[in-house]
Every structure is written in C-alpha cells, then in structure tokens.
C-alpha cells in the first residue's frame, strides 16, 4: 500500500508541478521569508523549483520512503539550504516554513484531483504528511547542527582570544585573564602559560584576574592548579587584580589562595621586579636642566 501511495503522490506532483510551484512560493512569501531581506525572490523561486524537481524525482524512484537512496539529492539540497539559512541568521521556524508551506499546495492539488477515490485520497494525505514532516525535521536538525557549529567555533575563538600571555620584562610574564574560568579554559591557560615560561625562561608569572567576573571555590581551585603547575616548572606566581567585592566573596566562601596576591597589576609587577633583583629608580634630573633648556641649548650649539 505504501508503494501505491508513493506512486499516487508522485503522479500527483508530476501532474500539478506547474500549479504547485507558484502557490508554494506565494505561501512562503506570505509567511515572510522575503521580509528580512536575506534572500531575493529570484533565489527563493529557484530554490523552490529545484527542490520540487528533486522531490518529484525522488518520489518517482523511491516512493515516500525518505530513507531510500533516491532521496539523497533532495536531502542534500535541503541540508545545504538549511545550513545556509542558519548561517544567514534565519530563525528555525522561518527555515522550517520552507518545507511545511509545501503542504497546502499539495493538498490543494489533491482536492482538485477528481480521479482519486476517497480511500486513495486519505492514504495519500497520510503519506504526504509523513513525508513532509520527516523532511521538515531534517531541516530543523541540520539547522540546529549548523548553529551549534557556529557556537563551537565562536567558543574556540573566544578561548584563544582571551588567554594571552604577555611578557612584561625579562623573566616576568603576565597572564591577564578575562571571562569565567572553567576547567576547559584553565587547561588552555595552563598550557599557554607553562609553554611561555619555558620559551621565555621566565622566573615570575603574574596572573591578573581583573577580568574574571566571579571567583568561587571552583575558580579558585583552577587558579591554584595553575599556580602549582607553574611552581613545578620553577616559576613563582603572583595573583593581582582581585576586586573588592570578589575579595569579600572569597572570604565569605572561605576560599584561600595561599599565594602572594596584590590589588593591582602594578603592585604585583613591583614585587616581581624586586624579587628578580631589580628596582625602578626615577631618572635624576640635572639641576636647572629641563626639556625647554635642552631644546634651546641644542639650537645654540
């Protein structure tokens, strides 16, 4: 019976292809596919015509069984379409409308067809519904997948962007952390830091957490892990940039860092310089020698 219904659907589509297409495109336009201005009417028309053509071929060869090989081209086209729409910023329902709005033109065609018996009509309606639902679900699935791909890519980019290791001075590194520290990011941060310690032969690393929005017990643990790993490599760690609210939260939570911590990166840098045996000295100004004098002196000479 399924095969019978399949050939019924196929013949229905082939007989009415010319009327289904404009009706379908019209419905998509009514649903607002063009309103966002992301695709042109010509594109929509060609997409619809191509898909209808592929669907027709698939129906003729494989019946209504979407798992059959005959549906591969139609599915591939549909996947491509929903992926593109996902990337163009269409909403899920806008994307799914492409398939679901095909229902009405098909049912209209079925109504106009006087050659079919009531039984044939009902079975055709059922197989059509199942077919379109399956294709609609496929559309949504691909849509979802493409969006997730975008999210994963962005996450990776954020992770790369937000964990730079900066060299402040010979042997002194700074690690300005921005954003929440989860275990995955801690791993990236740790690897970056340790590799830079080796490459730059650093003695001291300053971890600046000004950009970390909250420090809970877990974040503190991640920080301590990083500090411990750096220590194993022979580098000392300082923590800087703990904001007042965060300091309070940490005390409330009973989080202890057990490392030298300073309020600002500048303070930590001063400590680091001292520990590596350096001091910052204000340049001594020669009596009566200012920038203006130097200038005029230069002209005199």
């Amino acid at each position: 019976m399924a095969a019978q219904a399949g050939s019924d659907v196929a013949s229905l589509v082939s007989r009415n292809e010319t009327t289904i297409l404009p009706e379908w495109v019209e419905l998509q336009k009514q649903a607002g596919t063009l309103h966002t201005g992301r695709i042109t009417e010509a594109e929509l028309l060609s997409q619809s015509r191509n898909f209808l053509h592929l669907l027709h071929e698939a129906l003729a060869q494989g019946g209504t069984d979407t798992a059959s090989a005959a549906y591969e081209p139609a599915k591939a086209m549909l996947s491509e379409l929903s992926r593109n729409r996902a990337l163009q910023g269409f909403s899920p329902s806008e994307t799914a409308t492409f398939i679901f709005s095909l229902k009405r033109p098909l049912f209209n065609a079925l109504n106009r067809d006087k050659t079919l018996s009531a039984e044939q009509i009902s079975s055709t309606v059922w197989s059509l519904t199942v077919l379109l639902d399956e294709l609609g679900l496929l559309t949504l699935e691909i849509f979802q997948k493409s969006r997730e791909e975008v999210i994963v890519r962005q996450q990776r980019e954020i992770a790369e962007l937000s964990t730079p290791v900066v060299k402040l001075w010979e042997g002194i590194l700074a690690l300005p952390l921005i954003g929440t520290l989860d275990s995955q990011r801690t791993q990236v941060v740790m690897e970056n830091l340790l590799q830079t310690i080796v490459d730059d032969e650093a003695e001291i690393a300053i971890i600046d957490i000004t950009g970390v929005p909250t420090v809970d017990t877990l974040t503190a643990q991640h920080l301590l892990k990083t500090v411990a790993a750096a220590r194993l490599m022979g580098a000392d760690c300082l923590i800087s940039g703990i904001r007042p609210q965060i300091a309070q939260t940490m005390v409330h939570l009973g989080v202890e860092l057990n490392v030298i911590s300073k309020a600002s990166l500048a303070d930590a840098f001063a400590v680091a310089l001292r520990q590596t045996g350096r001091t910052i000295v204000k340049a001594k100004r020669v009596e009566g020698y200012t920038f203006a004098d130097k200038k005029s002196g230069g002209q005199d000479a």
Partner: protein
C-alpha cells in the same frame, strides 16, 4: 640492574634522569642518593628531569621522599627542567610537590643551591628564607 649515575658537583650532587623511570630504578636512586649525600657531605641535590616525558604518581612521591630525606640530612633538593605536560599531569594527580624546590633549568637550580650555600657560609643564623 641499571643505575642512574650521581655526579658530584662541588658540594652538590647532580642527577640527570635520561631513561624512563620504572619503580625499581626509582627506589634504587632514592637509596643511592641518600648514601651519597652522607658520604660526600653534600649540601644540595639537583635532579634534572627534562628528559622525562612521563612522571607518574610513584615517581612524584619519590621526588617528594628524596626532598624530605635530604632535608633531614641538611641538603636542599631542587628539581629542574620539568616539562609543561608533566607539570600539568602532576597537578591533576594532586601532587604539587610542596616540599621540593623547583627551577626552570640546571643553571638556575645550581644558582639556587649556591645562593643557599653562600648565605649559610656568611651567616649561619640568617638561614631562614
């Protein structure tokens, strides 16, 4: 059985681990080193593990033990040249080797031991740091 050579370097002992450590080798090293600290009257022990790609919890504990033993015998232990991957693994294992001093390379490790020796020679009372 293989043994890891222990080199005398002034008043310090230098151990360079260049082969994969297995447990028996580690135990042997621990014993040899203890004996050499006493016989050479060493004040510092430098363990270079830059060639070690894998450090498991046993080796980690061995390093901790060596440090504890040599501290009792009044020698400083400095572990140098740990690879980033090894450091991460040890931290993940919960072994942060708090009793062991660390340095990036042999040069810095030696400097640490020399600093300590110089400090204790000039002023024994000023040993705390």
């Amino acid at each position: 059985m293989d043994r890891i050579p222990i080199l005398k370097f002034g008043s310090a002992l230098l151990v360079t681990i260049q082969v994969d450590m297995h447990d028996r080798l580690a135990t042997a090293l621990e014993e040899d080193l203890t004996a050499r600290i006493v016989s050479n009257n060493a004040r510092g022990v430098l363990i270079d593990i830059s060639a070690l790609e894998v450090v498991d919890s046993f080796i980690g504990r061995m390093l901790d033990n060596i440090a504890a033993v040599s501290r009792i015998l009044d020698a400083d232990t400095v572990v140098v040249g740990m690879r980033p991957a090894v450091a991460i693994t040890l931290v993940e294992l919960g072994l942060s080797l708090t009793g062991v001093k660390t340095a990036l390379n042999v040069e810095r490790g030696m400097a640490m031991i020399h600093d300590r020796l110089a400090g204790s020679e000039t002023d024994d009372a000023d040993d705390e740091d």
